[in-house]
C-alpha cells in the first residue's frame, strides 16, 4: 500500500478541495480528526500547513493530549533536521486523518476525506536515546508534504487557503 492514500467515494468524478484558515502571518490552519492504532475513536487535532516538513508530525503537546504511548513506538531510521538541530522522531503507524473536503458543482457538497498514512512522526517528550531535549512545546502539529503533495493547486484568498487535487 502507498505511504499516503486519500480515500473518498463519490458517484461523480470530481476535484476535491480542503479549506484552511489563514492567520495574520498567512499560515494555513486546518482542523481534523485523527485515528491510529493506539486509539479507535477519532480525536480532534489542529494542524498547520507546513511545506517545510517532509512528514506529518505530531508535536509534544499533542502527543501528550492524545495520550500517545511513545515507549512502544519505533524510532524513525532517518533523523529529522529542524531549526534547533537534529532530532529522532518516533513513528506512529496506521494513522487516518479525517478532513472535511468540498466537491461537486461549485464545491457545494461536503464530506470527509480519509487520508490513510502508513506512519506519521511523533515528537516525544524526550527521546530516550538522546541526551538533548527534544520536547517542542506551545506549537500545533504539522501537516507535511506527505499529505500536501496530493494537492496540485493552491489558491490564497483574503483569509483562506484552498487546496485542490
Amino acid at each position: 500500500m502507498e505511504n499516503v492514500l486519500l480515500i473518498f467515494f463519490s458517484k461523480e468524478l470530481c476535484i476535491l478541495q480542503i479549506i484552511a484558515n489563514l492567520d495574520p502571518n498567512r499560515h494555513g490552519h486546518l482542523f481534523a480528526y485523527i485515528m491510529c492504532s493506539q486509539f479507535n475513536t477519532p480525536k480532534p487535532i489542529h494542524l498547520i500547513i507546513d511545506t517545510g516538513s517532509s512528514n506529518t508530525t505530531l508535536l509534544s503537546d499533542d502527543v501528550t493530549r492524545l495520550s500517545i504511548n511513545c515507549t512502544i513506538l519505533q524510532s524513525s531510521p532517518i533523523p529529522s533536521l529542524t531549526a534547533s538541530g537534529t532530532i529522532i522522531p518516533f513513528l506512529l503507524p496506521g494513522v487516518q486523518l479525517l478532513i472535511e473536503v468540498r466537491y461537486g458543482w461549485f464545491n457545494q457538497k461536503r464530506n470527509f476525506g480519509v487520508f490513510h498514512l502508513a506512519s506519521i512522526h511523533c515528537m516525544p517528550p524526550t527521546h530516550p536515546q538522546l541526551m538533548t531535549q527534544q520536547r517542542i512545546l506551545h506549537a500545533c502539529s504539522l501537516l507535511g508534504m506527505d499529505v500536501l503533495r496530493l494537492f496540485k493547486k493552491w489558491q490564497f484568498t483574503e483569509n483562506k487557503l484552498i487546496l485542490k487535487t
Binding site: 500500500m1 492514500l5 484558515n21 495574520p24 482542523f31 485515528m35 479507535n40 480532534p44 479525517l98
Partner: protein, 93 residues
C-alpha cells in the same frame, strides 16, 4: 489494514453526531484563531480549553489542563485546547 477495513472503520464513525461534533470543535478552533489577541490579554502564557466559544478552563501546562478536564469528569476530546503565547510569534520549523 486493507482499504476495505479502513472504509468499514471510518463509515461506522462518520455519522450525524460525529459531523455535529466536528462542526462545533471546528468553530471553537476558528474562534480561538480569530480572537487570539483578545485572549492574549487575559490568558497570556496559558493553555486554554474552549467549548462553545467560551473558555472553560486554563492551566500553565498541557498536563495540568488535561488533569483539570478529567477531574471535572469530561473528555479531553470535547474541548479545543490551545496555548496562548505572551506575544505574537513568527514560526520557524
Amino acid at each position: 489494514m486493507t482499504l476495505v477495513e479502513i472504509k468499514k472503520k471510518t463509515d461506522s464513525i462518520l455519522d450525524k453526531n460525529f459531523q455535529m461534533k466536528y462542526r462545533r470543535l471546528q468553530e471553537d478552533f476558528l474562534w480561538i484563531l480569530t480572537n487570539k489577541e483578545k485572549l492574549r490579554t487575559e490568558y497570556s502564557n496559558k493553555y486554554i480549553a474552549v467549548e462553545n466559544k467560551e473558555v472553560k478552563c486554563t492551566d500553565d501546562t498541557i498536563d495540568g489542563i488535561i488533569a483539570k478536564i478529567k477531574r471535572s469528569k469530561r473528555q479531553v476530546e470535547d474541548f479545543a485546547i490551545e496555548y496562548i503565547g505572551e506575544c505574537p510569534a513568527n514560526l520557524l520549523f
